[in-house]
């Protein structure tokens, strides 16, 4: 589904990703771990196509198609979803209005008619109960005055509504208490199917107790330096990232 | 004869006392012509809409006091911040008092404008900085036309002045009503640091009018921490024109404490000429009777990544009138500007007035600017709460006002100044300071 080969990317002329390789197949959950500054969030932004990030080398393909020249919204239409580490606030625009617009824009790109109000409501009802979301929350301005947990829950709710092929969860566990973490993880697990894939970006192993990855990658200095199964996450938690760094040096 | 006429016709007499064959006198003459054209500002001018000088200008001021009155230290000691060691530049009726001053120092200049204007040693600085940032408006022109004396402070690169400098102007009014026009120039070079306290004080109940102009230049990485204490008799009026130019990475803070005076007008202008500049403008005004205090501030942001913080609190009792006009201009290139402005007022009496005009002019699009302005009474709930806990209403009211004004003091860096102002506030509000400050 996703193929990244020899990816180099820079921000403001500073190289962050330095030859990264990653392959994700449908039905898989990948975790990307690594110390601060390793390039985890950069990877997420590059896949989603953020403007400030320049790809200097390498390829990014989704289902065999090169997406590196597409605008962020076109990538979203192609099925990429990024759950933001810091979701932005948009005053005056309700959660419902926002998600309606997002869904209909995607449908428009696919040549479909707008979703009927009835279907939309049905879908919102279904997905919001899945994520234990209070209905009142749907009429509030997007992320404005939301707590950390509410923001993240809102991200997963949007993911549920948009049903992406590939979801990238960027530090979704940060700022969540244990209950919120459980709700978010449950949501993600329910949305998981054999047709889609998930990349979980995290610093800690905590979230990976709830979302069990098939592969764990360690990102260091812009490259994936080690790949293993779920047990690698535990090992990292126990030994810390210095352990990896030392191994690389030796 | 009205005051303008008197001033204009006395110019020849003034010229007798100065060197007329100098560049400085060129500047004076030009400013004089400008004043002759403009005269004093009237209420028809937007910037003077809420402040009338008419009553002040009606006095028959003596323009060139001759006799130098002896003033003894005990007479004036209270007007100094005396509990710490400071440099002092003291003027009595516009003339330097070496007796009261204390300017012994090594590696920087604290001296007199009169010598700075005359001696070749100071020429480069005067040429570069004198009358450069000052606006050519009515009263600044008037001051420039009669430039003669004031404080001249020059801090060279990398110099940290170890103790504050006090600039104090006393008026004795031995000649009845008196008008003085001090002119200060303060040049702080790269990475230098200075703290300055400025005060104007009359020693009698005779009418006094002070029209002071201060120019301050803060070069890169320089820090200037400036305090203005205005607690004069209600017979004295003050027009304070301060112009500050800042270069990249410099920090300038001006605190203005206005408790006294008849009519006080503060024109405080900040011009930011570089990046990453920090400007702070704060003030506390507590007045009563028929006092009038007007704060006109301007912060001009021209370059990216700069900040300005304004916080003015006012408490107005009896028939006092307060004016706050805060203008923030953000030029096109001044992206990522953070400009904050707060102005909060409490009207204590039925007859007090506040006129506020917080003003934003923004031409850049990536900026954070906000202003908040409130006018109202003290929180009745809080009053009730305090009364319920046994604090009498009068004390409760005073305490609340005290707390309201005191937030401005947080950024005062000289503990003795903070303590002095705290005491003045307490006195103004009749609060017994039985608690820890």
């Amino acid at each position: 589904m996703l193929k990244i080969e020899n990816l180099h990317a820079e921000v403001e002329r500073k190289a962050i990703l330095k030859g990264l390789n990653l392959k994700v197949k449908p039905g898989e959950i990948h975790a990307i771990m690594g110390p601060n500054g390793a390039g985890k969030s950069t990877l997420a932004s590059v896949i989603a196509g953020k403007e400030d990030y320049e790809v200097t080398q390498g390829i990014i393909e989704l289902d065999g198609e090169d997406i590196s020249e597409l605008d962020p919204d076109e990538r979203a239409h192609a099925g990429i979803f990024l759950s933001f580490q810091y979701p932005v606030e948009i005053p005056g625009v309700t959660v419902t209005n926002f998600i309606k617009t997002a869904i209909n824009e995607s449908r428009k790109a696919q040549g479909l008619d707008e979703m009927s109000a009835k279907d939309m409501l049905k879908k919102i009802r279904q997905k919001s109960s899945l994520l234990e979301i209070d209905r009142k929350f749907l009429s509030r301005s997007l992320n404005e005055g939301f707590s950390g947990g509410e923001k993240k829950r809102n991200e997963i709710f949007q993911m549920a509504m948009l049903e992406p092929k590939l979801a990238i969860l960027d530090e979704t566990d940060s700022g969540l208490d244990i209950d919120a973490l459980r709700v978010v993880a449950n949501g993600v697990n329910t949305l998981k199917s054999s047709n889609n894939a998930i990349i979980v970006i995290t610093h800690y192993q905590r979230l990976l107790d709830h979302i069990i990855p098939d592969f764990v990658h360690v990102l260091h200095d812009g490259k994936i330096v080690k790949t293993g199964d779920a047990s690698l996450a535990h090992e990292l938690e126990a030994k810390g990232y210095d352990w990896i760094k030392e191994k690389i040096i030796s | 004869m009205d005051l303008k006429e008197k001033i204009v016709s006395s110019y020849v007499a003034f010229e007798d006392g100065v060197n007329m064959n100098s560049d400085v006198h060129e500047i004076r003459s030009k400013a004089f012509q400008n004043f002759e054209k403009l005269g004093f500002p009237s209420k028809k001018i937007e910037a003077w809409k809420y402040t009338s000088l008419n009553a002040v200008l009606r006095e028959d001021y003596c323009l060139f006091p001759n006799k130098k009155k002896t003033v003894t230290l005990p007479q004036v000691k209270d007007h100094f911040i005396h509990d710490i060691d400071t440099y002092k530049v003291v003027f009595v009726d516009g003339k330097y008092s070496s007796f009261l001053s204390e300017t012994t120092h090594d590696n920087f200049d604290v001296c007199l404008m009169s010598s700075a204007l005359a001696k070749p040693k100071y020429k480069p600085i005067i040429e570069n900085y004198f009358n450069k940032v000052a606006k050519q408006d009515h009263l600044t022109s008037l001051n420039t036309a009669f430039v003669k004396e004031g404080a001249y402070i020059h801090i060279p690169r990398n110099t940290e002045v170890e103790k504050p400098i006090q600039i104090i102007n006393f008026t004795t009014g031995t000649e009845d009503a008196i008008m003085t026009q001090p002119r200060n120039l303060i040049v702080v070079e790269q990475n230098a640091y200075v703290q300055i306290i400025e005060r104007h004080q009359s020693l009698t109940q005779n009418a006094a009018l002070t029209n002071v102009v201060t120019e301050i230049f803060a070069d890169r990485y320089a820090t200037v921490d400036y305090y203005k204490i205005q607690n004069d008799h209600t017979s004295a009026s003050l027009v304070d024109n301060t112009f500050i130019e800042q270069q990249s990475e410099s920090t300038v803070a001006v605190h203005t404490f206005s408790f006294g005076g008849k009519v006080t007008r503060n024109n405080l202008n900040f011009y930011q000429m570089g990046k990453h500049i920090n400007s702070t403008l704060k003030g506390i005004t507590i007045i009563e009777g028929k006092q009038h205090v007007d704060h006109h501030t301007l912060v001009h942001h021209t370059a990216p990544n700069c900040e300005s913080h304004q916080d003015y609190k006012g408490i107005f009792n009896e028939r006092a009138v307060g004016v706050f006009n805060g203008k923030v201009v953000v030029e096109k290139d001044a992206q990522k500007t953070n400009a904050y402005q707060q102005n909060n007022n409490v009207l204590v009496s039925d007859r007090s007035t506040i006129n506020a005009k917080p003003q934003l002019e923004i031409f850049a699009d990536d900026v954070k600017c906000s202003h908040g302005c409130t006018t109202g009474q003290l929180d009745e709930q809080a009053l009730f709460y305090m009364q319920q806990r046994g604090i009498p209403k009068k004390e409760a009211r005073a305490l609340l006002m005290y707390a309201f004004a005191n937030t401005v003091l947080e950024s005062v860096k000289i503990p003795e100044v903070k303590e002095r102002i705290t005491k003045l506030i307490a006195m103004k509000l009749s609060v017994r300071i039985g608690f820890d400050l």
Binding site: V88, G92 | Q359, E361
Partner: protein
């Protein structure tokens, strides 16, 4: 492909004024220029009583001694007042009994404006009075209103049929000598709408006036007077458009509202005069005086969406004379290209326990300048007056400017005044977030602008809100969604 601010700017430039068409209706226009004779001629043309002619002449004489105001934060070449025709009427001015008799071409014009009378009549519960150039051409629903005793008719007709009412209230809120433009209007106004709601009557439908300048080189000087008698309620809508022309056209209207004890007037405006082209050529000069007077316990609420005009100079105000009276001002002002707007409100608190609210949203794009100018004045007798003001500005691109000039004058210690202002831009982060969810940049901007303006849009009557939203999109966006 990246969609940059440059692209956006480019699109904004090429977005044409959608209502810029000219109706080819034969019209009768007075010669250009202004003097006593023209004023008399206008009055005569309208068959006015002698007192009205005298009133106009007095205003004219005052006007000749006045000077044009300089204080607004706008720059323009002052109109040559002798180069304007002060009266222009569609010539085949019909005595209309029903819409069927209206010139079909005129109807087609309104159709294009999106205010098909037919449709209005069928669908919306809105009575419409249409003022084209200077003359009222059609008023709908007259009879339905008459049953309730509501008077809603062209000003010229009201002067004939209800002289006592007009005489009592005209100029009572905006005196003829109030300001330069109000004096000019008082001298030469040719028509407008008059509305009277009797005691205790709640007007069953929205009343609406549509203004349109059609003839070139003419000025439009309409005069609106709304009187809500004790305990009555009315919601009044006003819409404006003008064709695209090279020269500037002058619009100097006066609107007076009188809300007697316990009455409520809600006055909404969607202003879309031609703003000039992308080079700043042409466009309407909109110099309008709007003011309302509140008696005891009365309420006046101004809502405006200002998207058009080359220059806007407008301060809908409330004089809160009666105790417990309430004034409100909700405004969205959008400026693009070379437009300049200096707009805001005055809330004059005279009575006890009076309350006012000001919510102003300014959106600037292109090289435009957008200023908020407001006055909150608390008189010494206005015990317990309350004001809350909020002025938010949104900037798009860095060639435009946003300015706020709030004047706050308080002479009463019990007054509580709060003023807040913010300026922000549409953040890159916000756009990327929307893009990531599949919403393209144009749509994202439209969404954000709508969110920003929501507090004001919500105050508009339903029928108008939809139109206003569309206008916002057209004028900013086109481009933007």
């Amino acid at each position: 492909m990246k969609y940059t601010e440059d692209d956006l700017r480019e699109e904004l430039k090429t977005k044409e004024y959608e209502y810029g068409f000219y109706t080819d209706i034969e019209s009768e226009t007075f010669p250009k220029g202004l003097n006593e004779d023209i004023v008399r001629a206008i009055s005569k043309k309208k068959n006015e009583p002698q007192w009205m002619t005298a009133w106009r002449l007095e205003a004219f004489n005052a006007w000749t001694k006045m000077i044009e105001p300089e204080w607004p934060n706008v720059q323009y070449t002052k109109p040559n007042f002798q180069d304007i025709a002060y009266y222009s009427a569609p010539k085949k001015k019909p005595k209309l009994n029903s819409l069927d008799e209206v010139d079909p071409e005129l109807l087609a014009t309104f159709e294009k404006l999106g205010i098909s009378l037919e449709e209005q009549k069928r669908l919306a519960n809105v009575a419409v009075d249409i003022v084209m150039d200077s003359v009222s051409v059609a008023t709908t629903f007259k009879e339905t209103l008459a049953e309730k005793g509501i008077i809603f008719m062209p000003m010229s007709e009201a002067i004939q049929k209800h002289p006592a009412l007009v005489k009592k209230y005209i100029g009572s809120v905006v005196p003829p000598k109030d300001n330069f433009y109000a004096a000019l209007n008082s001298a030469v106004f040719s028509d407008g709408s008059f509305c009277y709601i009797p005691k205790g009557v709640r007007c069953p439908m929205e009343l609406s006036t549509y203004f349109r300048i059609n003839e070139g080189g003419t000025g439009q000087f309409e005069r609106t007077l709304v009187v809500a008698d004790k305990g009555s309620y009315v919601s009044y809508l006003e819409g404006c458009t003008a064709p695209q022309r090279d020269e500037n056209q002058l619009h100097a209207a006066v609107v007076e509202l009188v809300a007697l004890d316990d009455a409520e007037i809600k006055y909404s405006t969607v202003q879309n005069w031609f703003p000039g082209d992308q080079n700043g050529k042409g466009g309407v000069f909109n110099f309008v005086t709007k003011r309302g007077l509140c008696e005891t316990n009365a309420k006046i609420s101004w809502t405006q969406v200002e998207t058009g005009s080359a220059i806007t100079w407008k301060y809908p105000s409330c004089i809160l004379k009666g105790n417990r009276s309430v004034g409100e001002f909700y405004s969205i002002a959008v400026t693009n290209n070379f437009q300049q707007a200096d707009t805001g409100t005055k809330m004059i608190h005279l009575g006890k326990n009076t309350k006012s609210t000001i919510i102003s949203k300014g959106i600037s794009a292109g090289q435009s300048q957008n200023s908020y100018r407001g006055l909150v004045q608390i008189n010494s007798r206005a015990e317990n007056a309350r004001n809350f003001s909020q002025c938010d500005s949104l900037l798009m691109g860095n060639e435009c400017g946003a300015h706020t000039f709030p004047y706050i004058e308080s002479k009463n210690k019990s007054a509580q005044i709060e003023h807040e202002a913010t300026t922000s831009k549409i953040g890159e982060d916000q756009l990327f977030y929307c893009n990531q969810r599949g919403i393209d940049t144009e749509k994202a901007i439209a969404l954000i602008v709508n969110g920003f303006s929501k507090e004001v849009l919500n105050k508009l009557p339903m029928e108008f809100a939809v139109e206003a939203q569309k206008l916002l999109e057209i004028s900013l966006e086109g481009s933007v969604g």
